[in-house]
């Protein structure tokens, strides 16, 4: 079984315990995808390759993946990739996966918390001409030909079956990330990371980066962050009471 996991470095919203680089971290949905791939490897003989497209410093999420038990890591990096939208990103990943050319299962995070599109996985599957299932919270069973998954719905979940190869986008399920072992950490430090650029991938420059992107960000409104924000004032005990009241009111607790 050959598994490819596509991962992405993001600006850290939650402090990643394992990361020395506190500013950046692994996309949490990718963390779930990584854990699902490792669970498959626990069950049957599998080789896991992680790929990321990003700046050279994204290497650390690849080493982090190796420390968890991934076998091989590839960094797609080139100045020409800068400004890629989801389509250009998917195309770059597609070219890399075509080069690897040997896979049964591809896993992606459901989305990234900074882009929030959830497009890359499905786009990649279409380019590869393989089926895909989004919002998978658990791989229930897998063998060399078929996978059965739990797919998260608004209410409850559904069980889907697919032939391999298939691309799954993973969301939170029973896939809380495992701890890194000492041997894993040592291995990751010494592991060699493959670095592939546009030339190596034999890509047309008009299919990646901002040139290859159909969508462009015309304006960013960072003030959105302020929405729904409420500031409580007073002493600690009165603030605590107000917060609890608010949480109760919104049925959060």
């Amino acid at each position: 079984m050959n598994i490819i996991v596509c991962i992405k470095q993001i600006i850290n919203s939650i402090i990643n315990q394992e990361s020395n680089n506190k500013r950046y971290g692994l996309n949490p949905f990718d963390e779930y995808a990584l854990e699902e791939s490792l669970k498959v490897k626990d069950m049957l003989k599998a080789k896991i390759i992680v790929i990321t497209m990003g700046t050279p410093d994204a290497e650390f999420i690849l080493r982090y993946s190796i420390s968890k038990g991934v076998d091989e890591a590839i960094l797609l990096t080139d100045n020409a990739f800068k400004g890629s939208d989801t389509l250009a990103t998917a195309y770059t990943l597609f070219k890399a996966i075509k080069l690897i050319n040997n896979y049964n299962l591809i896993l992606c995070g459901k989305q990234s918390p900074n882009g929030n599109t959830g497009f890359v996985g499905p786009e990649l599957a279409e380019m590869l001409n393989i089926p895909h299932i989004t919002c998978v919270k658990r791989i229930k069973s897998i063998n060399n030909t078929v996978v059965i998954v739990d797919r998260l719905l608004d209410i409850g979940s559904e069980v889907l079956e697919s032939k391999l190869p298939v691309l799954l986008t993973i969301t939170k399920g029973d896939n809380i990330s495992r701890l890194v072992s000492v041997k894993g950490r040592i291995l990751a430090r010494k592991a060699s990371i493959k670095i592939w650029d546009m030339k190596f991938l034999n890509m047309e420059s008009n299919r990646t980066g901002s040139l290859g992107s159909n969508t462009h960000i015309s304006k960013k409104d960072e003030n959105n962050k302020q929405k729904n924000k409420e500031i409580f004032t007073g002493n600690a005990s009165s603030i605590a009471v107000k917060i609890v009241d608010k949480l109760l009111e919104n049925k959060i607790i």
Binding site: Q17, E18, V180, S181, V182, I186
Partner: protein
């Protein structure tokens, strides 16, 4: 905060991984295990998964080959959060060191890989009711009959007793030869004639099990003997010289954990309109604690490195100094941390009272502080008699 001790990348990896296990797996459960006095099997599994069981075991037997330094760094980091759960690894190291130091290749191949992988725990069986520091007074006897020894006697205060699978046990093979009449044996749990006695109820280190080992006509093959017959005392002393830094690391870890709780508390606790950390009385206490902790750490790391380098033939003085200083320091620091937390430090809602209870044992086991002083003095007398 900690000084740069020029640790290797592998050593830093041990600390990092130990830290994440301590924070994510031990911290949420430390109170539970302390109050229930349960052996933390679930956490042992995490240690095994993260390769933390064999840091000191040579690489060819499945360990990390980081020596006593690797053990010390691991125990210190885990004990910052809980001084009791980490003890199961420290006590395993104590039970394993005789095999590492004196085992033949067959014995090492048979036992070390399972300990390194965390599949099995070990324990050290020396102490008896009438033979604590006075080791030569042990009454457990090993009578040779053909290829076997028949072992009879009772060991007490054995850490990991009942929960470990592998025991290094000391018994008299000759009552007339005194110090040269003791031998060491590897005995496995489940062996006929080997039972466990009562579990002790302790002040601290409650998640660690302390039991009696009872040998009643326990038949052990001579291949299970470590080293030559009559070399038991040498094995015990050499083991303890190597293992005392482990106890010191436990003490240092607990002290560091307590200090961190105290300084955190001092920053947020307000009295007379100010954080209590702004009061010089508190500042001086914290300064003393931090200085003592760092001094202890420097001595401990230097000693561990010296042991691993094998430069120095005799290490008993330094090993005793480390254990003496770190353990006494830990008692002072945990007490002063409690003082800084005031009444809150006395409550079981805060971790300090547990840290104090756990720290207290370190001045007692593997030789009391007074025995360490005897050891240091004996070495001083020997050194200066030749000058």
């Amino acid at each position: 905060m900690v000084m740069n001790y020029m640790l290797s990348e592998d050593e830093k990896a041990i600390i990092d991984i130990a830290h994440s296990v301590a924070i994510q797996k031990i911290k949420p459960l430390r109170k539970y295990y302390d109050e229930k006095e349960e052996f933390p099997y679930e956490i042992m599994k995490e240690f095994a998964k993260c390769d933390l069981c064999g840091t000191y075991i040579p690489k060819q037997y499945g360990g990390l080959g980081s020596g006593i330094m690797g053990l010390v760094l691991l125990i210190e980091e885990l004990c910052k959060v809980d001084g009791s759960i980490a003890l199961s690894i420290a006590a395993t190291a104590l039970g394993t060191l005789p095999i590492i130091l004196f085992g033949n290749d067959k014995q090492k191949t048979k036992y070390l890989p399972d300990i390194a992988s965390g599949k099995k725990l070990a324990a050290f069986g020396l102490t008896e009711a009438e033979a604590g520091s006075d080791v030569c007074n042990i009454k457990t006897v090993a009578t040779k009959t053909g290829d076997f020894y028949i072992i009879d006697g009772i060991k007490c205060f054995i850490t990991n007793g009942g929960d470990a699978q592998i025991y290094t046990v000391f018994a008299k093979t000759n009552f007339t030869k005194g110090a040269r009449g003791i031998s060491c044996f590897i005995i496995e749990k489940g062996q006929q004639g080997f039972h466990f006695g009562k579990k002790e109820k302790k002040m601290g280190i409650k998640s660690s099990s302390t039991r009696e080992l009872i040998f009643n006509k326990c038949k052990v093959h001579k291949d299970q003997r470590l080293g030559k017959e009559g070399y038991g005392l040498l094995i015990a002393q050499t083991t303890l010289n190597n293992s005392r830094p482990g106890v010191a690391a436990q003490a240092l870890g607990i002290a560091t954990g307590a200090f961190e709780e105290a300084i955190k508390y001092a920053r947020i606790r307000k009295q007379f309109g100010n954080s209590i950390i702004s009061f010089q009385a508190i500042q001086h206490m914290l300064a003393d604690m931090a200085t003592e902790i760092e001094a202890a750490r420097s001595l401990l790391y230097t000693c561990a490195r010296t042991i691993d380098s094998k430069i120095q033939k005799r290490i008993s003085k330094e090993s005793a100094m480390v254990k003496l200083f770190c353990s006494e320091m830990a008692v002072r620091v945990t007490l002063n941390s409690m003082q800084i937390l005031g009444g809150n430090g006395y409550l079981r809602d805060y971790p300090i009272e547990k840290m104090f209870r756990d720290a207290r044992i370190t001045t007692l086991y593997e030789g009391t502080s007074q025995i360490q002083k005897n050891e240091i003095a004996a070495n001083l007398i020997r050194e200066f008699s030749t000058k």
